[in-house]
């Protein structure tokens, strides 16, 4: 029993067989996996369903679509029909009136149609991925525009965040100057000022500088992150001062010391901040919602929310676009997960 509550005891393979805590562990882990990944997987599967498939209840796991056959120049749906004599055949529906369908065998389109009660037939279905859910928003909607806006905001904000935060962190970690503590205190204080607290006045400041309905109005207020300055400063403090002095004796200017010595050496911390900045800015919702009211400026998140808020909710498109919005974050997750988890454990930043 000690094994459940203490650490690093083998769940299996320590020769004692299975304990109830081992079973509880695996139930939790597997249940957790289903609960954590399941919704996203369900989203992806659903995103490939046709509107008809989405409306079904109970829903199928995989996307299916009814098979059709070409009769003349029209596609007609195929059904398995149980005839009065108990034989099951595949037939195509020509038209339907009430609960009666007129059907013909697909290889004899000109035969006399049989009148079949619709309860005596089941649709012939096959797995089918409705990729038009993905292609249509790209072609018809403003989706490409939203995507471009999101990428622009994310890339610009991340570059500026890295540059300005690292410059400030360098000054705050490698120079002694009067007022340094005051600056640090000021930055600590911002931790207490989340966006929701300054939402209204920030709007008026941004509108005063003319950046309402401008992507830079979304970018600029987010880049002076106190967490970024902290993370980088903490890391730069570990770079030995002797390196900077050696560079100074090597005729390096202060700017060169920053650029050529400190920045390359702070690369691991910069990478962590870059990852976080990308995720933060890609996911931002409330602030862009306030600043951007012109549809052509919407970021992906705002665009998605506006689609979901429309009267006639087109779930098949929304689901597909949600998947697209998820892709960059999933990529970051798959390739850089180790980096991020180490970063959080080390700094407690999110």
């Amino acid at each position: 029993m000690i094994r459940f509550l203490t650490r690093r005891r083998g769940a299996t393979g320590d020769g004692h067989g299975w304990h109830w805590t081992d079973i509880a562990t695996w139930v939790w882990l597997i249940g957790g996996t289903i609960l954590m990944f399941g919704p996203a997987v369900w989203l992806v599967l659903s995103s490939f369903k046709t509107p008809a498939g989405l409306a079904e209840f109970p829903p199928t796991i995989l996307p299916y679509a009814q098979e059709t056959t070409m009769l003349g120049d029209q596609a007609k749906p195929l059904f398995e029909v149980t005839l009065e004599d108990g034989i099951t055949v595949t037939m195509a529906e020509l038209r339907r009136v009430g609960i009666v369908a007129q059907m013909v065998p697909p290889d004899q389109p000109d035969a006399e149609p049989l009148k079949i009660n619709i309860n005596d037939r089941t649709p012939v279905r096959q797995m089918d991925f409705a990729t038009e859910n993905y292609t249509q928003p790209f072609l018809q909607f403003d989706f490409v525009l939203f995507l471009r806006n999101s990428v622009y905001v994310t890339v610009m904000a991340t570059i500026i965040t890295l540059l300005t935060n690292s410059m400030a962190a360098f000054a705050l970690s490698k120079y002694e100057f009067r007022g340094r503590n005051a600056v640090m205190l000021l930055i600590v204080a911002t931790l207490m000022v989340p966006l929701s607290v300054i939402l209204v006045p920030l709007y008026s400041v941004v509108s005063a500088v003319g950046l309402i309905n401008n992507l830079w109005g979304v970018i600029l207020p987010t880049v002076a992150t106190p967490t970024g300055v902290f993370l980088l400063r903490q890391y730069m403090l570990t770079i030995p001062d002797e390196l900077l002095e050696a560079a100074r004796m090597d005729h390096a200017s202060e700017w060169q010391i920053y650029w050529r010595i400190v920045l390359p050496l702070a690369a691991p911390a910069l990478a962590v901040l870059a990852i976080f900045s990308v995720v933060w800015r890609w996911n931002d919702f409330l602030w862009p919602l306030v600043v951007l009211s012109r549809r052509e400026l919407y970021t992906l998140q705002i665009g998605l929310n506006s689609y979901a808020g429309e009267l006639n909710v087109q779930w098949h498109f929304i689901l597909a676009m949600t998947v697209v919005a998820m892709i960059p974050v999933v990529l970051v997750f798959v390739f850089l997960q180790r980096f991020i988890t180490a970063g959080i454990a080390g700094t407690g930043l999110k």
């Binding site: 650490r7 562990t25 939790w28 954590m36 000054a171 911002t190 929701s196 209204v200 006045p201 306030v290």
Partner: protein, 332 residues
């Protein structure tokens, strides 16, 4: 080795060019102003942005909260003194929003308070159990840790939409209900269930982050303590109460306060999931501020500012608590 370095050179070449281009004017600046000038230069961009978009709004917020009207420019706004605060705080009985002059504000406050209580309690417990389990010697440790962390990175809009899709009338959740022989539930249109869904989805989305902090705390507990306890024949629950929990307490406190701070600000995923409804059953503080400040036709930025300052007071207390706790655990 070679190809890697030359690929690196492709990336660094423009950077190097940039460095050389910037070096000339900046070296001149250094000669002109010395080290002090350079310090100022390094600090300037960050502090300027910070000043304009954080400090100035902070000051303006106070002015906003004492002025009225629907205009955004301060000069167009008439003084109203403490009217907004008086309106917000005018209540017959603080536990009954209907007795208050601004009943929406108090509905938002009480919703937020209930949300914070349940969300923090459930999430902390779930994160603690998960961290304890992940701390065991499991095959594929990194994978399991990643599993629980995955939703943390998803955007609130994506989280909201995923769950909106699952919780809709004909969604996956009701499929399970039917399969289990239960009645389908109107997850998002029933007042109680919508609130439960908002709490549950928020726990789902953020739990992984706090699990990581707790896991780091657990891994910092020296292993020999457990071995010593085992040698003493200590019973496992006693080990948990007397060793694990006390040593994990600093991290646990940080997790609780940090999640409190975040929970008070709840907006994005709940807004996408329920839009604050049905009725006002999931309308929280930030949404109140947003709607009173912007979305409403009868918008009242001054009132929103006053509400945000009241919220800031709560957050400042919580943040100071967090700084105090993390400093104390850091000092140890």
């Amino acid at each position: 080795m070679r190809p890697a370095t030359s690929a690196g050179a492709v990336v660094t070449a423009p950077l190097r060019w940039l460095a050389r281009a910037t070096d000339v004017p900046l070296s001149a600046w250094q000669r002109l102003t010395g080290q002090r000038g350079m310090i100022a230069l390094f600090l300037l961009p960050n502090m300027a942005i910070f000043g304009i978009f954080v400090l100035v709004p902070l000051v303006i917020n106070l002015l906003y909260s004492t002025t009225g009207g629907t205009e955004f420019f301060l000069s167009d706004r008439p003084q109203v003194g403490a009217d907004h605060y008086a309106r917000l705080l005018d209540c017959g009985n603080y536990l009954d929003p209907n007795s208050c002059r601004d009943d929406m504000f108090w509905i938002a406050v009480s919703n937020t308070a209930r949300f914070v209580f349940f969300q923090v309690a459930v999430m902390t417990l779930a994160a603690l159990i998960t961290a304890l389990i992940l701390n065991r010697a499991l095959p594929g440790k990194g994978f399991w840790r990643a599993v629980f962390f995955f939703p943390v990175l998803l955007s609130p809009v994506v989280v909201g939409l995923i769950w909106k899709w699952i919780l809709q009338r004909q969604g996956l959740a009701n499929l399970f209900m039917v399969e289990l022989g239960l009645e389908p539930v109107n997850w998002l249109t029933d007042r109680l269930w919508a609130f439960v869904a908002a709490v549950g989805v928020s726990v789902w989305a953020h739990m992984g982050f706090y699990t990581l902090i707790l896991l780091a705390g657990l891994q910092a507990i020296p292993r020999d303590l457990y071995e010593a306890a085992e040698m003493d024949g200590t019973r496992p629950f006693r080990v948990f109460w007397r060793i694990t929990l006390p040593l994990l307490m600093p991290n646990l406190l940080v997790v609780i306060v940090l999640s409190l701070i975040r929970a008070v600000q709840i907006f994005d995923e709940a807004y996408v999931l329920t839009g604050g409804g049905p009725g006002t059953s999931t309308m929280f503080m930030t949404q109140y501020i947003y709607e009173v400040g912007f979305a409403n036709l009868l918008r009242n930025p001054g009132l929103a500012a006053a509400a945000s300052i009241l919220m800031a007071c709560v957050l400042i207390v919580l943040t100071l608590l967090q700084l105090y706790l993390s400093r104390r655990s850091g000092a140890k």
